[in-house]
Symmetry: C2
Subunit: 230 residues, 2 copies
Amino acid sequence: MKFYDLSGADNQRFSPFGWRVRMSLAHLGMEENTEVALVKFSQKDKLKFSGQKLVPILRDNSAIISDSWRIAEYLENNYTNQPTLFSSPTDKANEKFVSSWVDSQVHPLIAKCVVRDIIDVIDPNDREYFRRSREHRFGMSLEEVVANREETRTLLKQTLFPVRKVLELNPFLGGASASFADYSVFGAIMWARITSSFDILEQDDPIIDWRERMLDLYNGLARKETAREH
Amino acid sequence: MKFYDLSGADNQRFSPFGWRVRMSLAHLGMEENTEVALVKFSQKDKLKFSGQKLVPILRDNSAIISDSWRIAEYLENNYTNQPTLFSSPTDKANEKFVSSWVDSQVHPLIAKCVVRDIIDVIDPNDREYFRRSREHRFGMSLEEVVANREETRTLLKQTLFPVRKVLELNPFLGGASASFADYSVFGAIMWARITSSFDILEQDDPIIDWRERMLDLYNGLARKETAREH
């Protein structure tokens, strides 16, 4: 099995979707034994075999699966590990809800906080492409995008309200233990942590305690990844 | 057991939180046998026994429970019906996520679509209080709040993205059958349906199919409630 994940200049693995897969693999006890292929933005030719250009991709013998949700489904359906990733069909529907919520409502705000800083961690060869494509998407310079990021963080704090409500009652979004919902929110957090010195959580946000718990999971898997100084 | 629910001039039960409780009772097979006490805004003296002023309230012998989430918990913990409301602790954590998301991200947008129209369905005695308190909250007249509601609906459509993603794969947010997450979103929908002729969903929104399924549940319980013409 081979896991293709996005990487920066110094092999930093900062993709939020990559982190969903990586934590899911760890959840299933498969992370350490999965070979990893690091792919920079300018190395998309490495992904030709998959017929598309996006990481993460999981290659398992003849199976080629892209998209973090479909990879999680594939792992769940093909490897009967304990604990399972989705404990029931209801649970799976709920995990899809949370991951889609992260995609649509959390990622855009985090991007507005850290997109300028991503430039610093990606390969110098990738920087012109990254800046051009993202500035086109935002319709302004990356410096302008992040100029008011304290305000964006306030908006993010409001958006994360349901996360806070669940964590008032439970150690993890999944209840007593971490679930794909946790990995989805945490992927977004790791994306920021690795690429930017700007902390997307305010100092008094109780979500920070959960972030610490997530960093500790699976022998500190995520904590070992080099973060930028906050 | 007695269920205290908010009501309008003609006994319309339009509270989104009331609908969460009502659908939960139906889910547990208890809706038909639960006595209902209708409470208008100006009849909050009926709630004195509860030590607070908000509906819904469930009174079960000596137990007095307010807040729709806590009522759902109470029902689940004290009545061993099938199907259960929360199939597992993970499921319960996820349902809390979705209901908190509705509270914080869906309700404010629906309010901006229908708050002016609520005036028309509540008791004439309640109208001055309602207008004054809501205009104070919004900092403008209710007519101004709803003036751009087509734009608010576009924002609501974007906000409902995760609902749409789950419904692409499942008939209900709970998967194969409806869950408290469905009742939470549906409560918001019923709030709008009963109080306003403005449809908060655009005609081509696939969420409409789900709304029809929800209206059909439990022998058309919600469909029987008088809606304003769309």
